[in-house]
């Protein structure tokens, strides 16, 4: 029998956020598939009653909370202490949480404290013959594994975006407070704020419908034998402004800056997709001037519909990976596309 615990943070307004509700959906599917299993919800934050009420009718039999000003901060020491305390109070054998930056920072340490094991970036859960298996990718999304564990507690961080967010009618929930001692030793670190990209800067934005990937070809010599980097910058920024797309880049393009070559000034390592970048999830992706495995396989693993613009009709990575490959000059196509998008808005 598995004792399932879902761990979630209460948002700043006290509510249970989307990622936490996705983890709850995943846990509920497991509860259905694992006979005699029980479900508890553990909440961490400054005030967690609102979040507990929000999930009151989810099917959990226990609602455990660690609340207080010290737990509002996304800080390893207090987050780990809270998660450890809740997991012990729930006597959990299976701990599920959303793979947010906050949980990913502390859950491996929590698993060690509990004497258990951890799997992160889990993209799927399945139950076969009463045995739980998790699905996750290895070697930067190049191969998918299905694995099982006998060691308990098993801590599983589910990647956001893999499950629907649980919805239900709020009701009063009976919240059990789990006392956790804080103090100087746990509060040597203080979160002082967040740095957001400049307004004009574009980064990978998970909420965007489209991922636009700029490749190194934008900075190379064009048909006239000259580079046209300022024009490339303007075309890309215009498109992003019109489409509200998320901006990704290839490693080679980002690295060019370090080599003293002409680069698109708004790109940084935060835009990088692929091996040493992110593998974002978007419904659509448009790659431009890219060549190589990184943008088309690793970086695009979780892009549903993919199109590419390239001058190379034989690009082995676009063929078979993109749905449509336009063999064309991206400068010309993007200029026309920007005109059409602008006309559509006026």
């Amino acid at each position: 029998m598995e004792r399932i615990l879902v761990l979630a943070h209460a948002d700043a307004d006290g509510s249970l956020g989307k990622a936490g509700r996705e983890a709850l959906t995943a846990a509920l599917s497991l509860k259905d598939g694992l006979p005699d299993s029980t479900l508890a919800l553990g909440l961490v934050g400054e005030n967690v009653q609102t979040a507990a009420d929000q999930a009151a009718c989810c099917g959990a039999t226990r609602f455990l909370g660690v609340a207080g000003a010290a737990f509002a901060q996304a800080r390893y020491a207090t987050d780990a202490a809270a998660a450890e305390g809740i997991a012990k109070a729930a006597e959990a054998t299976l701990v599920l949480a959303a793979g947010t930056s906050r949980w990913l920072r502390c859950l491996p340490g929590v698993a060690l404290r509990l004497g258990g094991r951890v799997d992160t970036h889990v993209t799927g859960l399945s139950v076969t013959a009463g045995k739980l298996a998790v699905h996750r990718w290895y070697y930067r999304q190049r191969m998918e594994a299905v694995l099982q564990r006998t060691v308990r507690p098993w801590v599983v961080a589910v990647d956001p975006g893999c499950h629907a967010a649980w919805q239900g009618t709020p009701a009063p929930a009976q919240l059990e407070q789990v006392p956790i001692a804080t103090g100087d030793a746990l509060e040597r670190t203080t979160v002082v704020g967040q740095l957001e990209p400049a307004v004009e800067a574009q980064t990978i934005r998970p909420d965007a419908r489209l991922l636009f990937v700029a490749g190194a070809g934008w900075t190379k010599k064009q048909a006239d034998g000259q580079t046209h980097v300022p024009e490339a910058e303007q075309l890309i920024l215009d498109f992003l402004g019109q489409s509200r797309a998320s901006l990704g880049s290839t490693k080679s393009l980002v690295d060019l800056g370090g080599e003293g070559q002409a680069v698109l000034r708004f790109l940084s390592h935060l835009n990088q997709v692929g091996q040493t970048g992110s593998t974002p999830r978007h419904p659509k992706g448009l790659a431009t001037c890219c060549h190589g495995e990184e943008p088309h396989t690793v970086g695009w693993r979780f892009i549903t519909e993919r199109r590419a613009i390239s001058l190379d009709p034989n690009c082995g990575w676009a063929r078979g990976k993109a749905d449509v490959l336009y063999v064309a000059d991206a400068f010309q196509v993007m200029a026309k596309l920007n005109e059409l998008l602008a006309a559509g808005k006026s």
Binding site: P108, T120, Y138, M143, T276
Partner: protein, 276 residues
Amino acid sequence: MLTFHMGTPNAYQIVVCASLVPDPLQTLEPLSGPAGPALKNEMILPAVLDPWASHALYEAAYLARQHPSSKVWLVSLAPKAKLQQVMMTVAQKAPFELVALDGPASGFTEAAEVAGALTEAIEAIPGLDRARLLVFGGWESAARGAGATMQMVGERLGIVDQFQGVDRLEVGADGSFEVLERVEGGKHRVSRCAGPPAVFGWATGSLPEPKNNPQVGMANMRTVMPALQKAKPVRLAGEGLTFASVTLPKQQRQTRIVKDAAPATIAAELREWLQQ
């Protein structure tokens, strides 16, 4: 050796944990072996130092340069022969002392067991001052990609000030740290930490890859070769872990190639697609 940092209160003892991964340009294929999944031709695939851990090494070297009497160790668990190959290049990038562990570098190994082996190696470094200790590494490997090992190393060492996805670490005049960590939405979380000991799982950081410096390489090799010779063998059992399957994604898309179309035609098609 034991107290080389005495009298320099902002000197750090920086331990960088880094393993090897197949060169990203290689095509990887899984196969099933008696000890679980592995990569086809794993032992002959060209290897590199794990990319994000490499950034951690560059940042460590930079921090050590800024704070005299600091020292950098590179603790690496990998097959000894491959480690020797990779060190020929890596040793030219930054000054460090190698602590080698001879064992698998596969992504299919258990993070908790790897963390245990790394922690034992760190604890065995002679004269390590835990109060000045900074543990660096990549926030995720390019193999397992779990982002779990560093936290467990930190836990085993009793360090509860930990940061992941770090892009910047600045030391204040009072010895405190300001840390930028990657969080959702392309943002950075800014934290202040009282000082060492702490764990930093680095993302890309802000430093370019250093150029090869043969002089640094020569100096490093004086300790690299002895470290490789006395590398402790490590066996990772993967206790309680079973891989039901490891497969390459089969999906091959039927790509429609659009040639000789006018830019305006392509743009119109793209606009329609974007608006669907």
